[in-house]
């Protein structure tokens, strides 16, 4: 092996700079899957309540492996084509614009559903249970009532949810400087909250928690030993607090965790604005974001089982899905249990606020993704040119931002006015996005063969057994996505109860994508412009 060669010698020339720093890119990727939401709503309560015997720890390991493969695949892919616009740009450049549009429609359809859900969840999962929990802990009846009002008040949900969407849209309209500041700040508050919980529980003994719990719950359940009462009540409901390991139940547990853990690569949507997008820095940032996300969840998970007690933690989560759960309106999220352990209203407020911020945090990358997708479509002539215009002052694509708001607010109205009907579609959002991820992975496989010059000039040209690493990672991603797809379809408790409904929706999205593409193409052709060529690479030879 030769000695290390010198790097490049640069001459004096004006420099190219990009706006989003590596740290903000890291936060963007973590914001796309807020750790607090994973811990509260997906990692423990779902597996423990619905998939008894499924190993959360194996689930974490499998989800992590899955996520790392995606980071490697999409990170290397975007380093070869470091443009904003994500899957649309990558798929259309490597295959054909129509496939890029199809891919993007599936992704954006999922994003719009998720945006509405997250905006509603800010009220129904963060604010309402938080107020109820603080009310129960501090004995404030008015807060309990307020929590109930929010949980059932459709207009409250629509109004506050719209506020969250408008707040995030306004942030983006203000440009990256403010967006990254607020995003990094919200993320910092969330992490500080999780850190507080870790430190607090580390110094709280198991017996201390049992005493705190009994003291709190006694007035509600009327039992002096409510702690063991919860375990007994769970057993009466047929919940086994120490179920034997079941691989069959571990798959859906993994899927529940993966649903909020395999998105550490979403900075591909802002690659054109990220510093050091051309080298492997983004792969490292994506992988680090995934590692930190999973590591925090695992460490806190260990602490929860240790301090709350294994059987109790399984029982209380299992019981929460039944009528026998004694704390209506306050699910056994980590926030509730830790606040009980703290025994202080002020402490409870801090924990609940640091959890609630995760929702607006999650809205920021989702709006950004939709905006960047519309922006990229407009640049390629698929939308009117105004959607590619940026503000002279902030460089923000205001028309594209407005379009996202116009699309997501009515969906939020639908979500709040017909939650049950909306949820049928919402659960499909993950699967719709899996379709995009499969297309993106297939495009990654093809990159070295369809665009050899671009691949040769990318961050790594390494091969394993003669196959380029990006193609290998792409192939592996396709297999893993197909497996995840199968798991989602196989376990109705994950939300897909009507498979036919899902495939009908896929057909609708596909037709919408094709109509959009071919109508736009025909309109541009009348103007003397070939849309295929606008989106295609100019032949280099």
């Amino acid at each position: 092996m030769p000695a290390s060669s010198p790097g490049a010698y640069a001459r004096r020339a004006t420099g190219l700079v990009r706006e989003v720093s590596p740290f903000s890119t890291f936060v963007f990727n973590m914001a796309a899957q807020p750790t607090a939401i994973l811990i509260a709503t997906a990692a423990f309560i779902l597996p423990l309540a619905y998939f008894p015997g499924g190993s959360i720890w194996v689930g974490f390991a499998m989800a992590f492996a899955l996520a790392i493969v995606l980071c490697l695949c999409y990170g290397l892919f975007t380093s070869a084509i470091p443009r904003s616009g994500g899957d649309y740009v990558l798929v259309s450049r490597v295959t054909h614009p129509v496939l890029g549009v199809i891919s993007s429609f599936f992704w954006v359809a999922g994003v719009i559903l998720v945006l509405a859900f997250v905006a509603q969840s800010f009220v129904t999962i963060a604010l309402a249970p938080s107020l109820t929990a603080v009310g129960l802990i501090g004995g404030h009846e008015s807060l309990i009532t307020a929590g109930e009002d929010l949980a059932t008040g459709k207009w409250w949900q629509f109004g506050i949810g719209t506020g969250v969407i408008l707040f995030s849209a306004a942030l983006l309209a203000g440009g990256w400087r403010w967006t990254t500041r607020i995003m990094n700040g919200l993320w910092g508050v969330m992490i500080l909250g999780l850190g507080t919980i870790f430190v607090f529980l580390l110094f709280k003994s198991h017996h201390g928690f049992v005493n705190s719990f009994n003291q709190f719950a006694g007035s509600i359940t009327g039992e002096p030993d409510s702690y063991n009462g919860i375990i007994s009540a769970a057993q009466k409901e047929g919940i086994d607090p120490s179920p034997a390991f079941s691989l069959d139940q571990t798959w859906p547990a993994m899927a529940a965790i993966a649903g909020l853990s395999i998105y550490g690569w979403l900075s591909i949507y802002i690659s054109g604005e990220v510093r050091r997008a051309k080298d492997v820095t983004q792969v490292k940032i994506m992988s680090l974001a995934t590692l930190v996300h999973i590591a925090i969840a695992v460490i806190l998970g260990v602490v929860f089982f240790w301090k709350f007690g294994h059987d109790f933690f399984v029982a209380v989560n299992g019981l929460s899905a039944t009528e026998a759960y004694p704390f209506a309106g306050a699910p056994p999220y980590y926030t509730f249990l830790t606040s009980i352990a703290g025994g202080s209203t002020l402490f409870a407020w801090w924990i609940l606020i640091t959890f609630a911020v995760a929702y607006p945090l999650l809205v920021i990358p989702n709006i950004t993704i939709a905006v960047r997708s519309f922006f990229a479509w407009a640049l390629d002539g698929l939308l009117p040119a105004r959607f590619a215009q940026v503000s002279p002052r902030t460089h923000a694509p205001n028309y594209a931002i407005a379009l996202v708001v116009v699309l997501s607010v009515p969906v939020l109205y639908w979500a709040t006015s017909n939650t049950e009907g909306f949820n049928k579609f919402l659960y499909e959002a993950v699967l719709l996005q899996l379709v995009t991820m499969v297309l993106l992975s297939l495009a990654a496989v093809l990159l070295p063969y369809r665009k050899p010059d671009v691949w040769r000039a990318s961050a790594t040209t390494q091969r394993v057994l003669g196959v380029p690493v990006v193609s290998l990672a792409g192939g592996l991603s396709v297999i893993l996505m197909a497996a995840l797809f199968f798991v989602y379809m196989h376990y109705p408790a994950l939300g897909i109860e009507d498979k036919g409904h899902f495939f009908r929706d896929c057909a609708v999205v596909l037709v919408a994508a094709l109509v959009t593409f071919f109508v736009a193409r025909a309109a541009r052709r009348r103007q003397g412009v070939d849309v295929d060529k606008l989106a295609a690479e100019i032949p280099p030879e």
Binding site: S5, Y9, A10, A13, V17, G528
Partner: protein, 323 residues
């Protein structure tokens, strides 16, 4: 009132700039004429690359180089060719050297500058040859100016092309339009070869626009964007070329030319095309003038450009493309 607009002849123009030594971007620029298609190609300056990458010929017959942070080794002629192509795609000049020469380059800056100059001129000759080969049999011409980063020695090479029209500080006829071209920039912290004070920029541009027969139909091809136009936003750097931080973040400032803005406001041409600030991609209007900076991401091998369809008196449409 409802009279249908009479069909006017359309001039299709493709503009790009700041390819900075990327061979693949230059080839795409030339090929854009047939791809989109376009009647004329306009290159807005900064043709030459910013970095030289030594490829060290090792004792065992292999070649080693560090390419975008990755140590690469070529053991066969094909692999060496691949390595050179990936370096030039990134806008850098590959230079094969022995270990002794590599050491000499590292230690001697004048030797390095000479090697740089030779490499960039040799590369540019290849580019001009490629343009002549592709455009020679067509009516399409590539109107090319140097930018502030380009050394003076490239002018002679540009002038040697048959299909390339070197047009810096000149007015060229382009169908019903006149093309005014200007490659200098205002002062930069990098002290690059072609910089002028604002007053001098204004005087030289004024001299050019005074030659126009129909300023309202003119197209400006001016490397530096107009001041405070949103096409000129960049991070501020200090004398040591470090970012100026304010509030914990790099501080953004307008870096365009006040003289260019003044001349656009006074002349009100149909279209004004700019480059120079790669990250300030966009389209804006200054008075009636449509001003465009398509940006540059030459290092990715993608050519950022702009396809503009013009009637004699209006811009019909424009598309920022990344081909």
């Amino acid at each position: 009132m409802f009279k249908r607009r009479q069909k006017q002849p359309i001039t299709r123009l493709f503009y790009a700039g700041d390819v900075h030594g990327s061979r693949v971007c230059w080839k795409k620029f030339v090929n854009a004429a047939a791809h989109y298609p376009a009647d004329a190609l306009v290159m807005g300056g900064d043709l030459t690359g910013k970095a030289l990458v030594p490829i060290v010929r090792e004792g065992d017959g292999s070649y080693a180089a560090r390419v975008i942070g990755e140590q690469r080794v070529a053991r066969t002629a094909e692999e060496l060719d691949e390595m050179q192509r990936s370096i030039s795609t990134n806008g850098m000049y590959p230079l094969i050297v022995d270990p002794d020469e590599a050491r000499a380059l590292a230690e001697d800056s004048s030797r390095r500058e000479k090697a740089f100059e030779e490499a960039l001129l040799e590369e540019l000759r290849l580019w001009i040859g490629f343009a002549d080969e592709r455009l020679g049999a067509t009516d399409t011409r590539a109107y090319v100016i140097p930018g502030n980063d380009d050394p003076w020695s490239i002018d002679e090479v540009l002038a040697s092309g048959r299909s390339v029209v070197p047009c810096d500080e000149r007015v060229e006829r382009l169908g019903p339009h006149e093309l005014v071209s200007f490659g200098y920039s205002n002062r930069t912290p990098w002290a690059t070869p072609r910089e002028l004070d604002e007053e001098e920029i204004y005087v030289r541009l004024k001299r050019l626009v005074d030659q126009l027969e129909a300023p309202e139909r003119a197209i400006f091809n001016i490397h530096v964007p107009p001041y405070e136009s949103s096409l000129d936003t960049a991070y501020e750097v200090d004398e040591e070329l470090r970012y100026v931080m304010k509030g914990g973040r790099p501080h953004e400032i307008p870096t365009g030319s006040r003289a260019v803005r003044q001349i656009i406001e006074e002349t009100e041409p149909l279209l004004s095309l700019h480059g120079h600030i790669h990250e300030s991609k966009g389209v804006t209007k200054i008075g009636r003038t449509v001003a465009i900076n398509p940006g540059s991401d030459y290092g990715s091998g993608h050519l950022d450009g702009c396809l503009v369809h013009l009637e004699p008196d209006r811009v019909v449409n424009h598309y920022l493309v990344s081909g």
